[in-house]
Symmetry: C2
Subunit: 404 residues, 2 copies
């Protein structure tokens, strides 16, 4: 039997009828050599339009109804894509989450996939018909409609690929693949032909925005090879490989950066066990994601505790710190939103000492002061002044010869 | 237990977020004294927008996909209405055809209802929650999405009312009820407080357009009392009663008219058995609806055969007549699209002779020439020149004192 490839098309890829037509051509071509299963997002702008309608009635609309509403965008694009394929003489049928029993938890707007009816999908494939499945959607055990959260279509695609044992999951988007860094900042940034799952996870988490982090985690967990490529231009994109291929790895694969964060520093905190939890517990309870967390060794029983969160959460975090003031003693609270995060990512980093010092040296020689440093096995994160981020990325890109 | 009323809101009634808000108020009010089940159409213009998208790819898009596409409009409005009700503190949940197992035949775009899961609806009602059900939608036995055809939401509402044993089905629309004739033509046309199902059927079929004919037939068959009323203005609307209430009926309930028809006359047809079938057979095979059919007694073995069809079907009918020319001998074919149809409708007509002659006299005194006459037990249909239709309706409205 021919192998199966899952193709996923995002909102910009199906943003207009002309784009849907172009996507239908891509599918038609691919269907000549493989069995194809398609997952599709809503047409660009549609979901926002639906959210706008809901917000007319309430800023926090009923969650069950909100999901029923916003999930219609994917139903529209899947049916239109099937119509476009029919017009080209290709058998295709659209399927909603309900029709392929895409079961999820009942956490509306951030549901987690529990199960998929792989037999139903394979039955359609067996009839020489391309299933066009709505991304983003799910249903609960009782048949209520859920959604997986923004960008959830990537996760839908990877989950389906895992469930039906697809050879590969191709994520079509509006970029050519994964780059060493943002080409807008470093014009000679290079497209990577391949990258490991781990590297991709670190990059995606850092806002590389090529593919949703959750979907990469899913692919990693279920060992689904993923390719990220453009639906606008020809090219092979970037293959996200399951593991280190044993060959000598590049020291650094890419540089990620992010500017929409705010840094909180609690200065002069008593170095008492449980302090970190007292600070971060109430924050995570409110589902606020904390990114970098740094605490230095204490001097005279006092230390500084620093963490960053998304700018959207700034006022919530302020309120929380106000509340815990009595429980956690500290001298000053410093808040800085003029910061940026720059990260070097690379599996090769593991076995090569000196990467960090090389980076720090290059930055200091170019007058970029590093405020915070945080490292993992395959990543070095530096928080710097926001005005210096472009310069820092360019310096590092050149230092590690990523354009070569 | 409190009785149940099914309320159906059409596309203009939920055409904007402001309108949805107004409809939510109507439902909230009604829910104080009765259990309410709501059926809702797509927001005005939405279905046409979706059809436009499909037509970009094909003028005859794949039927299964077309239905999946256009049915999303109702899902959007049902979820929005539920959100609006929640915002007013009312428990409501949207349900798609799939979620209440609204089973239909698999005739896409003109599916017929087979069964509805009344228990599911009653379960929701039992939880003090108002079910907001998508009109127009259905699903096949295998779970494919179907639609009932334009205006099908009326049928959905009546079918649900029948299935759950509702006290009444209220059809909310953009007119105050059923009028003696079109108020645009006769300014003192009178709103009827009640009308019989039979009269309503004759009026609807004639394009009175207040309520879909199929829905009236359904209501008649399953004995569901229906009320037609405005969602824009207060008022009791028109009650469509199940039967003649035994009291003296008005002679004439209303006057309907229609201008979008074309008249075909086959002049000098041989009066041979089977001729009518030879002409109309191929036409009905193509699903073209023939309206008035008139054949006069023959003179010298020759007769004239006249029928009217919708203007949309004019060229198809021409082609068919061209094809059957060899089988059906006739002298001339006359086609006239400058015609209009005027109908007097009334249950009282049955027992009162002289209605027809009174009508003919009034028209002739006002120089309105009648081209064709066709009658049923409760209807008299006259085909006249299109330019005279307003005059004819006004003359008849006055003659039968419908404004009194």
């Amino acid at each position: 039997m021919t192998e199966i490839i899952v193709q996923k098309f995002g909102g910009t890829s199906v943003g207009t009828v002309e784009r849907i037509d172009a996507v239908a051509e891509i599918i038609k071509d691919a269907s000549k050599s493989n069995n194809i299963v398609v997952v599709v997002s809503a047409m660009e702008g549609e979901t926002n339009k639906l959210v706008g309608l809901a917000n007319h009635f309430s800023q926090s609309p009923d969650k069950r109804e909100f999901d029923a509403l916003v999930s219609t965008g994917e139903t529209v694009s899947s049916a239109l894509l099937a119509i476009a394929l029919h017009a080209k003489g290709i058998n295709a049928k659209s399927y909603s989450a309900s029709q392929i029993s895409m079961k999820t938890t009942d956490s509306y707007s951030k549901a987690k996939i529990l199960d998929i009816d792989a037999n139903k999908i394979m039955e359609v494939v067996g009839q020489n018909t391309i299933p066009i499945i709505t991304g983003f959607q799910g249903i609960t055990e009782t048949g209520d409609i859920t959604t997986l959260g923004r960008g959830g279509s990537d996760t839908t695609a990877v989950a389906i690929a895992a469930q039906i044992g697809a050879k590969r999951c191709d994520i079509y988007t509006d970029v050519d693949g994964v780059f060493t860094t943002d080409p807008k900042v470093v014009p000679n940034a290079k497209k990577l032909d391949s990258i490991t799952m781990e590297e991709m996870l670190e990059l995606a988490g850092q806002g590389a925005k090529v593919m949703q982090t959750r979907a990469v985690e899913f692919a990693n967990k279920y060992k689904v090879p993923v390719r990220v490529l453009s639906s606008f231009d020809e090219g092979d994109g970037t293959l996200i490989s399951l593991k280190d291929d044993g060959m000598e790895n590049a020291l650094i694969s890419g540089i990620a950066f992010q500017k929409d964060q705010v840094k909180f520093t609690l200065h002069g905190v008593g170095d008492i066990p449980g302090t970190a939890f007292k600070i971060l517990g109430p924050i995570s309870e409110k589902d606020i994601e904390v990114d970098v967390i740094v605490q230095n060794v204490s001097v005279d029983g006092k230390t500084d505790f620093t963490f960053t969160v998304s700018k959207d959460d700034e006022s919530d975090v302020k309120d929380i710190i106000e509340e815990i003031k009595t429980e956690v003693e500290f001298k000053d609270l410093m808040i800085n939103s003029d910061i940026a995060k720059v990260s070097l990512v690379g599996v090769g980093m593991r076995t090569h000492a000196g990467i960090a010092s090389k980076a720090f040296k290059a930055l200091s020689e170019n007058d970029v002061n590093i405020q915070i440093i945080s490292t993992s096995e395959i990543k070095i994160t530096m928080v710097i002044d926001k005005s210096l981020v472009e310069k820092a990325v360019q310096v590092l890109h050149e230092e590690f010869e990523l354009d070569k």
